[in-house]
Symmetry: C2
Subunit: 150 residues, 2 copies
DNA sequence: CTACGAGCTGGACTCGACTCCAGGTCAAGT
DNA sequence: ACTTGACCTGGAGTCGAGTCCAGCTCGTAG
């Protein structure tokens, strides 16, 4: 069942997931594919549509900083099937809390940067109202260490 | 000027910034300290209060994923002083846009996880309404590969 | 005097996540 | 028959960001 339906080569999977071929093989070695990849008689990998879906998920999780061991753990539980739902849920919840913490941290950084950008914008608006289209004049300005700009 | 005011040892800076001593020396080698660290006659590093402020900023920037070369670049401009404000502003703006992109990405991941958590919660609520306080019974459930749980 | 704790240096090591490479196989096209 | 392109393997290399270590120097306390 589900045999001649929609088989994909590693190249196709690479273009569709945005991962490199090397990374796909690497992920396979790392055991984060939902099920062992089939091979054709030439020994080449044969992927199915649902591998794409799984990999898309992996891409999102990786993009959010989930380390490969955690993804592998989740994958193994999913492979094991029934009875592992609680653990999978725990993994997801934990990663979610890490993500929200990370978002908070990023917002703190945004605040900092927003403040600094404001300072610089004000400064530049004061001192140089015109954008000055063409000039590579090197200004050897007074380098007086000012604690103003932190 | 500003000599005997508030000198700090590397150990104090480490505890106050949360960075390790090794990391502080590493950052110094990487050139992301606003000004060269002074030394006492024994050759030991002597930090000042404003180094803490600068390092706190570095910690925030690093925490938001800004790579060390970018921080160094910014630092060098800040060291160079007047005339580099435009460039500093550009660096900040660029990093800001990377941060917002990253936040978006994290939110997308949160959506995914939120969805999955919901699925698992519903599933567990259906099949096991009681939290079952004490039980390590290993349920060898039917392991039928279901595409339901992606 | 000796021991200790805190620092110092240069350089090696680790870790995570890829990325690259040499050398080989296979199927299809010319 | 031969070339090409896509794929294979095992293993080495890279990169970023620290982290660790051996062996040394101080200053102080017992």
């Amino acid at each position: 069942m589900t045999d001649t339906s929609e088989d994909l080569t590693i190249g196709q999977v690479a273009t569709r997931t945005g991962l490199s071929i090397d990374t796909l093989r690497f992920y396979e070695r790392e055991g984060i594919l939902a099920n062992p990849v089939r091979r054709n008689r030439a020994g080449r990998r044969v992927y199915a549509e649902h591998d794409i879906a799984w990999l898309d998920m992996c891409v999102i999780l990786r993009g959010s900083g989930m380390p490969i061991p955690a993804i592998r753990q989740y994958t193994e539980l999913a492979r094991a099937g029934d009875g592992t739902e609680r653990e999978r849920l725990a993994i997801l919840r934990e990663h979610r809390s890490r993500i929200t913490a990370q978002i908070d941290q990023l917002h703190r950084c945004l605040d900092l940067i927003g403040y600094k950008v404001g300072v610089y914008e004000d400064y530049l608006a004061e001192t140089e109202p015109e954008p000055e289209p063409e000039s590579n004049a090197e200004a050897e300005a007074e380098v007086e260490a000012d604690d103003q700009v932190t």
